[in-house]
């Protein structure tokens, strides 16, 4: 029993978590011919929230047909609660030495946890940065009709060329901002 709890609290190596994520693809097909992916829920949530008087056609559809997807997203929130609160890992993330050196050079303190407090705790500056980044994530995932789960995992493992284009775009964008924007954010603002 103690071993089980120790294992539930510890982070999982890539060769355990990777295959578990990959299993989502055949699992969702088997449950009901669903394409594994999560970012469509952002559209459904907009469709729920948009008043009838606002005429953006993209959000005029019967979102109730996608209840299964919203339930999946609710599950993801619940899973985060179990993994991050109930079975929280008390240790900081075991990063590579190169990454630790880089973060200290960036002036990002490695707190005890999972996320840098400077970006994820409540200050107006951090909320503005996270919101602005979120706008790009929301806009981009809908423009590309999918995110890491729908394209990199589902799309590539079902050999769909559109997903390869999306993944190349995602990685190129991420490389650019991680190298040329993010490091400067810290020296400019914090």
């Amino acid at each position: 029993m103690n071993t089980l709890f120790a294992w539930l609290h510890a982070p999982w190596p890539w060769y355990v978590s990777g295959p578990l994520i990959g299993l989502m693809v055949p699992l969702m097909l088997w449950i009901g011919n669903r394409s594994f992916g999560i970012s469509n829920n952002l559209r459904h949530m907009c469709a729920i929230a948009q008043p009838k008087s606002v005429g953006v056609d993209f959000f005029h559809y019967n979102w109730r047909e996608h209840n299964w997807s919203l339930v999946f997203a609710a599950g993801a929130v619940l899973g985060g609660f179990f993994a991050g609160i109930v079975f929280a890992n008390p240790q900081p993330v075991e990063l590579s030495v190169a990454a630790l050196t880089m973060f200290s050079y960036w002036n990002v303190p490695i707190g005890g946890g999972f996320l840098p407090p400077v970006l994820f705790d409540f200050t107006w500056l951090s909320v503005i940065v996270m919101f602005a980044g979120g706008v790009m994530v929301g806009f981009g995932t809908r423009y590309a009709a999918g995110c890491t789960s729908g394209h990199a995992i589902t799309g590539l493992s079902t050999l769909q060329p559109q997903s390869l284009f999306a993944v190349l775009g995602i990685f190129a964008g991420g490389l650019f901002s991680a190298h040329f924007i993010t490091p400067h954010l810290f020296s400019l603002f914090w």
Binding site: V25, C46, D57, G173
Partner: protein, 138 residues
């Protein structure tokens, strides 16, 4: 009851997002600087497992879904530019906030203020896309 399998699958997914540390900003930066194999190992083994799983589903064609339908793999809509440019914009955001949509949902479950702000932003970004969709190259 009809939705229970989706709730369980979603919970498993959210749990793995945290336990894999794919939801950690640190891990995403480490990935974009090629400083660790961790995230690349996750992506490669996830794709390999998905590929194998889908091949097995196809091979055993008599296998049905829980509702008794035969399995059909949903296809992505045709297009090219929307996938590239959409991916680029999403990637630009990902390289700053270190969160893609899956981790945003699971970190909200952890009570993260930053993830909540990112979710609010992502909803606004999604709505903005709907607003300007017809003027964009697809």
């Amino acid at each position: 009851m009809r939705f229970l399998p989706y709730l369980l699958a979603g919970t498993a997914f959210g749990f793995v997002m945290i336990k894999s540390e794919a939801a950690s900003w640190y891990r995403i930066m480490e990935m974009f600087y090629f400083q660790s194999f961790h995230m690349f190992g996750i992506m490669a083994s996830a794709i390999a497992t998905g590929l194998t799983g889908v091949l097995l589903l196809k091979r055993y064609g008599r296998l049905l879904t829980l509702d008794g339908e035969s399995i059909v793999i949903p296809q992505k809509a045709p297009g090219r530019y929307n996938y590239i440019f959409g991916g680029l914009i999403f990637g630009l955001g990902w390289g700053i906030i270190g969160l893609c949509p899956g981790p945003i949902f699971s970190l909200v479950g952890m009570g993260s203020i930053g993830a909540l702000a990112a979710l609010a932003g992502a909803l606004h970004g999604t709505w903005l896309y709907g607003l300007v969709k017809n003027r964009l190259l697809h």
